[in-house]
């Protein structure tokens, strides 16, 4: 009897602990939400409450109409789509070949890629800047696309190769016996089987471009060329206290698509990433 009571008490304590921790974890986001919805932003007043007394969407209106956020969104989407297109169309065949075929230099290249994967692209920023300047690619979308595709090319190749390795070769061999051409094998058999890794790799590339700010703020001058991440960065840096409610509204708007994608793909995320040899 006493043991059961003790167990119940323990369970209650654990539940309480988790409720406190979960709330604590969400505080920064909840606070931003509360500030963004609060009509009279009495930031300095002492009677702060988490649930705004007067709700307003004024800050969200300001985000969409007073700030060039739609322009930044357009820039981000263009960059993301082009980067995604190039990375995937180069990455898929390469990952397939590295997973399935033997050719001279394969091992050495793979080893080299592991080392390249350890290199943060931030460290070659000076070199990239110096190389892109004479080509007139600084302050252009093309310049950023070049940087982003390069950074993501190594990841895409590795991640998808790791997944291809887990697909049994027998299926392809059977198709070969049946007289399918290499092209048919890839388009009819391999690609459908590799859907999960293609989806996750594509998402990781999109998220990377969506979130990348340091190249964007250094290579792009002028706020009309900014991406969402760079734009958001400029919102918080310019008028610190004044724009905090607008900034928190903008932060949540920018995060929303990523949150949706993450929770929609959560199950795939872990399998699609852990099967690859190298992870972020």
């Amino acid at each position: 009897m006493r043991g059961k009571k003790k167990e119940k008490l323990l369970l209650l304590l654990v539940n309480l602990l988790f409720i406190v921790i979960c709330f604590g974890v969400l505080v920064p986001v909840l606070y931003a939400l509360s500030v963004s919805l609060n009509e009279n932003n009495s930031l300095l007043s002492s009677e702060f409450s988490f649930i705004p007394r007067k709700m307003t969407l004024e800050n969200y209106r300001a985000v969409f109409f007073d700030e060039p956020i739609l322009l930044w969104l357009k820039n981000s989407v263009i960059l993301a789509v082009i980067t995604l297109g190039i990375s995937m169309s180069c990455g898929i065949p390469a990952a397939y070949v590295f997973s399935r075929r033997q050719f001279p230099g394969r091992k050495a290249i793979l080893r080299g890629l592991v080392l390249l994967y350890a290199f943060p692209s931030l460290l070659s920023m000076t070199a990239l800047y110096k190389l892109l300047t004479p080509m007139g690619l600084i302050n252009t979308k093309a310049g950023l696309v070049i940087v982003y595709t390069g950074t993501m090319a190594v990841f895409a190749l590795w991640n998808m190769k790791g997944y291809f390795d887990t697909i049994p070769v027998e299926i392809e061999e059977a198709a070969k016996v049946d007289g399918a051409s290499p092209m048919q094998i890839v388009t009819r058999i391999v690609l459908p089987l590799a859907k999960p890794t293609i989806a996750v790799t594509a998402m990781m590339i999109l998220i990377y471009v969506w979130n990348e700010y340091i190249f964007a703020i250094n290579f792009m001058m002028g706020s009309d060329t900014y991406t969402l991440a760079a734009g958001l960065n400029s919102l918080q840096a310019t008028e610190m206290s004044g724009s905090w409610p607008v900034f928190s509204a903008a932060s949540l708007v920018v995060s929303l698509p990523i949150l949706i994608i993450f929770f929609a793909l959560q199950k795939n995320m872990t399998t699609g990433l852990t099967s690859g040899g190298v992870k972020g």
């Binding site: 606070y31 300095l44 090319a153 190749l157 918080q236 949150l259």
Partner: protein, 306 residues
């Protein structure tokens, strides 16, 4: 016979050619955009390129490397020590907290387990830089940040959370834990669930205490499962840039702390003080360190498997 042999050889050559063709575009991209800039960085590291010598730079030999590695005042070595300390503190805290929370999540009768899990991984789903900026303004801001508002309510003096090195280190660690724990909890939780429960039943029959079970069964059994993820996290922590840069070093809103990891150090020398030659040398040293760690990590991984 010989005819057959050359045919086979031809076939092989054709096969290899096709492989190169398929892998070509990706490899060319990587060579041009990743490898070449690294080589160019190495080249710059031997020059005195800076904002005054952007085009008319000169070769200075190993001067930049000597500055970085042998002159303690240059700041690189202290940044390196700080980075090692930062990685150590963060990894220990991450592993301990994640292990405790994941163990608690696996208590049999915890009904709301999945609700807690979803809420706990929320920080993982937020774009990292947005979270950091929200922390910076929402939590740490000395006037209207939540922490100081809370202190004010208690009648305490406001604290400059990012103002000194020690406070900045603690604040950055908190944010980094906030960002990184969801992944670690997920990994350890997955490992705990994959464990064979029968070991525990035997141990319980023999009267093993919780500490004994943890020490002799749980930890040794989850170690190989979580090892790859832990290694990856060590690398990410070592290469951490966003947390420290965005919290304390943004242009125009420096907070007064001079906390540096090697990555923020390299960045500051390149894009703030514009000492490109020196910063490139630092970059190459960091790359060499990372390569060394990668090789050591692989060796260690192999040793564990054998």
């Amino acid at each position: 016979m010989t005819n057959n042999g050359t045919n086979k050889e031809n076939c092989k050559r054709k096969d290899a050619l096709i492989s190169y063709l398929w892998a070509g575009p990706s490899l060319i991209l990587i060579a041009l955009i990743v490898v070449f800039p690294i080589l160019y960085t190495a080249y710059i590291s031997f020059t005195n390129m800076n904002v005054y010598h952007w085009n008319n730079y000169e070769f200075v030999g190993l001067h930049n490397y000597v500055n970085a590695l042998l002159v303690f005042d240059s700041g690189f070595l202290s940044a390196l020590l700080m980075t090692i300390f930062w990685t150590l503190v963060n990894m220990v805290l991450q592993l301990v907290i994640a292990f405790v929370l994941a163990s608690l999540l696996n208590i049999k009768k915890l009904r709301l387990r999945n609700v807690y899990k979803t809420l706990l991984i929320f920080p993982w789903a937020m774009p990292g830089y947005v979270s950091i900026l929200l922390w910076k303004t929402g939590m740490f801001n000395s006037q209207f940040g939540l922490l100081n508002q809370f202190l004010a309510k208690l009648g305490k003096e406001p604290v400059r959370w990012l103002g000194t090195n020690t406070m900045a280190f603690i604040s950055c660690t908190v944010v980094n834990l906030w960002l990184a724990l969801p992944f670690m909890i997920t990994i350890i939780d997955g490992a705990l669930q994959s464990l064979d429960k029968s070991y525990y039943e035997n141990a319980l029959l023999e009267g093993a205490t919780w500490t004994q079970r943890t020490r002799y069964i749980t930890v040794p059994m989850i170690k190989p499962i979580i090892a790859p993820s832990v290694v990856i996290t060590i690398f990410t922590t070592f290469k951490q840039f966003d947390v420290i840069y965005l919290l304390t070093q943004q242009v125009g809103s420096k907070t007064g702390s001079s906390l540096h990891t090697i990555l923020t150090y390299a960045y500051e020398n390149a894009f703030i003080t514009n000492n490109y030659g020196y910063s490139s040398a630092v970059s190459i040293i960091i790359f060499a360190l990372l390569i060394l760690f990668t090789i050591l990590g692989e060796r260690g991984g192999k040793g564990e498997k054998a």
